[in-house]
């Protein structure tokens, strides 16, 4: 499968996969499975792996229907209770024994003198108990039960940002615009990586979509598959080309290159005989693999 969306290394692996042995059902097994399948059609119910072997299939439907009915009734009652006026729900259990009723309703509120003075004038439903206990019927006057006006709520949708993550091979590069999967993404024209990116490089780009400009603007750009170091002070870029002919400057970690090429004095080892494996990760601006 030769496809420009893959790097040569990926294509090599893809070729291996596509040429992998294709195991096949032998004729005997093929016919045996067909026979089992057709037999199963003759012998309903076709529950090949019953979860509850002791229960026959016809019983399941009424059982499920009954369960559904119970759920519906339960949910309906829940909704009804939830919609009852608060006044009813709170005044019903009030019994002039005082202590037991008052405790749960006032738990979150410190029973200060101020609270009492607010409660008493508003307790009209049961005037006989307001003199002795701060009845629960009055609590609702203290605790605001209304929903705050929507104007007070933060407008969440207005503050959401459109963040886009694109990862894939670069198809084209035009000035500071790179195209990945047909998506044009603008990089900072001063980004030193621009001088380094080549068609076919796999990039991981986090970007923002600016509706006004109708372009996607890259926020962070990472070359996924290449060992690239960028000097954060000068913007100078060094790229590991996979051989020893291009030594890194002193500021570049270039771990892979150094492990591979500095193992022997003067690069005396010919390729393939060094001790390193060439897999070292560059430091600096690389964020490492993303093998989730």
């Amino acid at each position: 499968m030769s496809d420009p969306e893959f790097t040569p290394q990926e294509q090599e692996l893809i070729e291996r996969l596509s040429n992998a042995p294709h195991p096949s059902l032998n004729p005997a097994a093929f016919e045996m499975i067909r026979g089992r399948m057709l037999d199963a059609m003759d012998n309903p119910p076709l529950d090949v792996n019953p979860r509850m072997p002791g229960r026959s299939t016809p019983l399941r439907l009424p059982y499920l229907a009954a369960l559904a009915a119970v759920l519906v009734v339960g949910i309906g009652m829940g909704v009804l209770v939830a919609n009852l006026p608060r006044e009813i729900a709170t005044t019903t259990p009030v019994v002039p024994t005082g202590v037991t009723i008052a405790a749960p309703t006032f738990t979150p509120i410190v029973p200060t003198q101020t609270l009492q003075s607010q409660v008493i004038p508003s307790a009209t439903a049961r005037p006989e108990i307001t003199n002795t206990i701060p009845a629960s019927a009055t609590v609702q006057e203290v605790i605001p039960s209304t929903i705050p006006p929507t104007d007070d709520l933060p407008n969440a949708t207005a503050t959401l940002e459109s963040v886009i993550v694109v990862e894939g091979p670069v198809e084209t590069i035009t000035d500071n615009i790179v195209t990945i999967y047909g998506i044009d993404i603008a990089l900072n024209p001063d980004d030193p990586l621009l001088t380094l990116i080549e068609t076919g490089d796999v990039l991981h780009i986090e970007a923002e979509y600016e509706a006004d400009l109708t372009v996607i603007v890259a926020v962070t750009v990472t070359i996924v598959d290449e060992d690239v170091n960028v000097n954060p002070d000068t913007g100078e870029v060094w790229r590991d080309e996979g051989n020893c002919a291009n030594p890194p400057p002193p500021w570049a970690p270039a771990n892979g290159w150094r492990r591979r090429c500095e193992g022997a004095p003067g690069n005396a080892n010919p390729p393939g005989q060094g001790q390193g494996n060439g897999q070292g990760q560059g430091g600096g601006n690389r964020d490492g693999d993303d093998d989730d």
């Binding site: 097994a29 045996m32 093998d291």
Partner: protein, 190 residues
């Protein structure tokens, strides 16, 4: 995978209990499903057993099958993936094998050994990857399915599959010990 001729009609007939239609669907998809499963489990014998389960479930579910526009093969692959997952979770009793199978068209013992080794190596490497990666690599590159069909089989978006395939390939290269940089270095590609 190309749909079978008159596939929709076949599916409708199969859903009504037409054995000939069921049999035709089975003939069209059995080998592909077996190939997919055989790279996801430890042996061809287990793959045969799971393939049988997939088609038994197909027969069960066909009366309720609804054509959503996704390829029928994708639906079968989803059943197969679920069966494989069940198998690996150990919730499933391993039934007695149907046969002692190997590819029967291979008469060259040396070639057969090499193929078996390659298959075993790929199986082993794939088994170390996340389930999604395994399914993607098998369907996309071994079975040669297009992105859209792989996406339908995996319940993901086309774009998601395009991104995931690079990661899956990279993970497989590591699992196979064929990291590309190391290999090019060892080959002397400098």
């Amino acid at each position: 995978m190309e749909p079978l001729p008159d596939e929709r009609q076949l599916i409708a007939r199969a859903g009504r209990g037409d054995k000939e239609a069921v049999s035709t669907l089975y003939e069209g998809y059995a080998q592909a499903i077996f190939r997919y499963i055989s790279y996801r489990v430890e042996s061809d014998m287990v793959a045969e057993d799971l393939t049988a389960e997939v088609f038994l479930r197909m027969v069960q579910a066909l009366p309720r099958y609804q054509d959503t526009g996704a390829p029928f093969g994708a639906w079968l692959y989803r059943i197969a993936a679920a069966q494989v997952a069940d198998h690996h979770r150990g919730k499933r009793r391993v039934a007695e094998p149907l046969s002692d199978n190997q590819a029967s068209d291979d008469t060259d013992p040396f070639g057969k050994t090499a193929k078996q080794q390659e298959q075993a190596q790929l199986r082993q490497a794939l088994a170390t990857l996340p389930e999604d990666y395994q399914t993607l690599l098998i369907l996309r590159f071994m079975q040669g399915l297009p992105h859209v069909e792989v996406a339908a089989a995996m319940g993901k978006s086309d774009a998601g599959i395009r991104v995931m395939q690079h990661r899956a390939l990279k993970a497989l290269a590591k699992a196979l010990g064929t990291d590309t940089k190391a290999r090019s270095y060892l080959r002397g590609d400098d």
